[in-house]
């Protein structure tokens, strides 16, 4: 845990120091503590600090949301992006832009939540019904179908509204660049609310991991557990999507790395995921700034590319496919 926290610190420092203008950590430190009006100080305070903070916020949200989703579905490939929950949030934002004249993040957030919630409910109903419950393939396919459906609605709206497309396409790519500090101010209460919901049901996740019947035998209310967990994960996804756009695969990879480090107990797993999420996101973001200098690759592209090998390795393990 201590090592992971150090890693997070390192990621934060890198995120503050690396960019089209690379500066020494000491300069960053100076800018943070003493302010000043030098170019370096301006860049750090006006651009990189908000970006880093947004990155941490989104990373925590996605890491925890992925862990909880994998816990309540008992399915190793559950993830907000794959399940279409992020796409639901996207649709909410598009509607906000196109129909309700909302152009501020404060406005987006509610629509993002609404969209995410509706998508989450639909997915769960679809994947969970039928024989065998929510097997990985069913979940993935239901998610893919949901993604395609919502994407086509989004595309339909955007084709008829070119102005909305121009606003939306930059948000849609999933990036933490150019988000200003007010985003953090507006979303942190939701992050806290989501984390509290998750915390409230976290102990039940361990029981649920043993199977529904055993969890029930241990005196847990399985339906309530699942509902609380799903609600928490949805709120967290809504936060992440509202702040940074759809970012795939972070919620998939982080819980697996965390599990490899601290084992399956959710008491350690959730905090670990909450720390690893921002680490992965910030490192991916830093990498994205470096690979095609002076241009930037948005963080969502980097996490998607980094996450695919994970999925492939997971799928190639016998357990996932047999389920």
């Amino acid at each position: 845990m201590a090592v992971t926290l150090l890693l997070l610190l390192l990621a934060v420092v890198l995120s503050l120091a690396v960019g089209s203008r690379t500066m020494a950590p000491s300069a960053v430190w100076d800018a943070l503590l003493h302010g000043g009006t030098s170019d370096d100080a301006q860049v750090v305070r006006a651009l990189r600090v908000p970006r880093t903070v947004v990155g941490v916020l989104v990373g925590v949200a996605l890491g925890v949301a992925g862990t909880v989703l994998q816990g309540i579905t008992r399915n190793p490939i559950a993830e907000p992006g794959i399940l279409g929950i992020s796409q639901g949030a996207s649709l909410g934002v598009v509607c906000a832009i196109a129909f309700f004249g909302v152009h501020t993040l404060n406005g987006y957030v509610w629509y993002a939540f609404g969209g995410a919630a509706v998508a989450a409910v639909c997915i769960y109903v679809v994947a969970g019904s039928g024989r065998g419950g929510a097997s990985p393939v069913k979940l993935a396919l239901a998610g893919a179908a949901m993604n395609a459906f919502l994407a086509s609605v989004v595309a339909g709206i955007l084709t008829t509204d070119a102005r909305a497309l121009d606003e939306f396409r930059f948000w849609d790519v999933g990036s933490i660049a150019g988000r200003d500090a007010s985003i953090v101010g507006q979303t942190w209460p939701f992050l806290v609310a989501g984390l509290l919901l998750v915390l409230a049901m976290a102990r039940g996740l361990d029981a649920l991991a043993l199977g529904e019947d055993i969890a029930r035998g241990l005196g847990r209310n399985v339906a309530l557990l699942r509902a609380t967990g799903a609600l928490g994960a949805t709120v967290l996804t809504g936060v992440a999507v509202a702040a940074a756009g759809p970012i795939a695969f972070t919620g998939l990879a982080v819980p697996h790395i965390a599990r490899a480090l601290v084992g399956p107990g959710h008491r350690w797993l959730l905090p670990m995921a909450a720390v690893l999420g921002p680490v992965m996101l910030l490192l991916a973001d830093v990498l994205g700034r470096v690979v095609v200098r002076p241009a930037e690759v948005p963080v969502a592209v980097m996490t998607a590319l980094a996450g695919v090998p994970f999925l492939v390795v997971l799928v190639r393990r016998r357990k996932v496919v047999a389920a």
């Binding site: 990985p136 396919l141 595309a155």
Partner: protein, 353 residues
């Protein structure tokens, strides 16, 4: 010499001198009905537009007779329609082949990364300033083939497990999708608009330039498709049965899969990834014909029908705004896929669905 009549139920034997051919009567009927419907849709689609053209005039133009509506029907509407027909047929065939190989009604070129690969490659090319329709189809096909190959290699582990194939395909699709979005932001505003429309699968502004390469490839594929129609029956069995029947399973699967991938990539090159046609058409066709395997011809007809009807609706429903046809097919196709997932109750689907 008495000739024993070993005839499967529902089939008619066609004999021409020494060769004979089994014909599934219901399939034939379905094919005829679908063709008739398709013809009706073709005429309707040529009649309806900004201005209405009388069906009689449309038929005159189609027959090459002089007509005052030559410009509107023959020059403006016909090329788009032809592209739609070819694209639909290609997606239908492709879906039928890939579903046969995967032995899974849920597999389709959309799901296993082909269309996303073609899409990513094409949008990338557009962003780098290649907008010529002489080059783009080849880029798409290259992208589709590369993505399919990648999925195939990654999913291969002592055999090709259908579930693994689908999961890897979805993963690769997501990654390619995010790459595509990246390219959309790289381009300027006009390229973004063009790419966005292309990515949803649109027939707007498509004509003979796009249809010609597709038609050529489909014609070249015909002999292979005839082979496929035969090989398909062997592949549809499970591994042990097929091997016992003397099917060269790996070779046949590879061949059928490659055919499916090529036709899906070509169709994507022509009209963009028109979602779900490849998934829907074969399943509907199969339910209509009630054959044990997926019928190729009826799938192609069904695909063409779906695309032309969807395009007609997409053009007129929100007129004067035109929606991309892909929006429509996805709006219908995605709920259908979900219904398939929900209703897959048979024990056999445990491993595949």
């Amino acid at each position: 010499m008495t000739r024993t009549m070993l005839r499967p139920p529902g089939h008619t034997v066609l004999r021409a001198r020494r060769s004979s051919f089994l014909l599934h009567r219901r399939s034939l009927l379905v094919a005829v009905v679908l063709t008739a419907l398709l013809a009706a849709t073709v005429v309707a689609s040529l009649c309806i537009g900004e201005s209405f053209v009388a069906p009689g005039e449309v038929v005159r133009v189609l027959l090459g007779l002089p007509s005052p509506d030559e410009l509107v029907v023959g020059t403006l509407r016909l090329p788009r329609l032809v592209t739609g027909l070819l694209v639909g047929a290609a997606f239908g065939v492709s879906g039928a082949l890939i579903q046969t190989v995967a032995r899974n009604p849920l597999a389709s070129p959309d799901v296993i990364g082909v269309t996303h690969g073609a899409g990513a490659a094409t949008v990338a090319a557009m962003t780098f300033g290649i907008t010529s329709y002489a080059v783009l189809p080849y880029v798409s096909v290259g992208g589709g083939l590369a993505a399919a190959l990648l999925v195939y290699l990654l999913a291969w582990r002592r055999g090709l497990h259908a579930a693994r194939f689908v999961l890897v395909g979805i993963g690769i699709s997501v990654a390619l999708g995010s790459l595509t979005r990246l390219f959309v932001t790289k381009g300027d505003y006009l390229v973004a608009q063009q790419a966005k429309v292309w990515l949803t699968g649109s027939l707007n502004g498509r004509g003979y330039d796009q249809a010609a390469p597709l038609a050529t490839v489909l014609l070249l594929l015909v002999p292979f498709l005839l082979w496929a129609a035969r090989a398909q029956r062997g592949v549809a069995f499970d591994n042990d049965t097929a091997t016992a029947l003397g099917t060269r399973l790996d070779r046949d699967r590879l061949g059928l899969g490659a055919l499916g991938v090529v036709s899906a990539s070509m169709a994507t090159a022509a009209a963009g990834p028109v979602d779900f046609v490849a998934l829907l058409a074969p399943q509907i066709a199969r339910r209509l014909t009630r054959t044990p395997h997926i019928p190729l011809l009826c799938s192609a007809l069904m695909g063409a029908l779906i695309v032309t009807v969807a395009d007609l609706l997409a053009r007129r429903l929100f007129s004067p705004t035109e929606l991309p046809v892909g929006v429509f097919t996805a709006l219908v196709g995605a709920p259908y896929l979900m219904w398939l997932i929900v209703s897959s109750r048979s024990s056999r689907s445990g491993g595949t669905a």
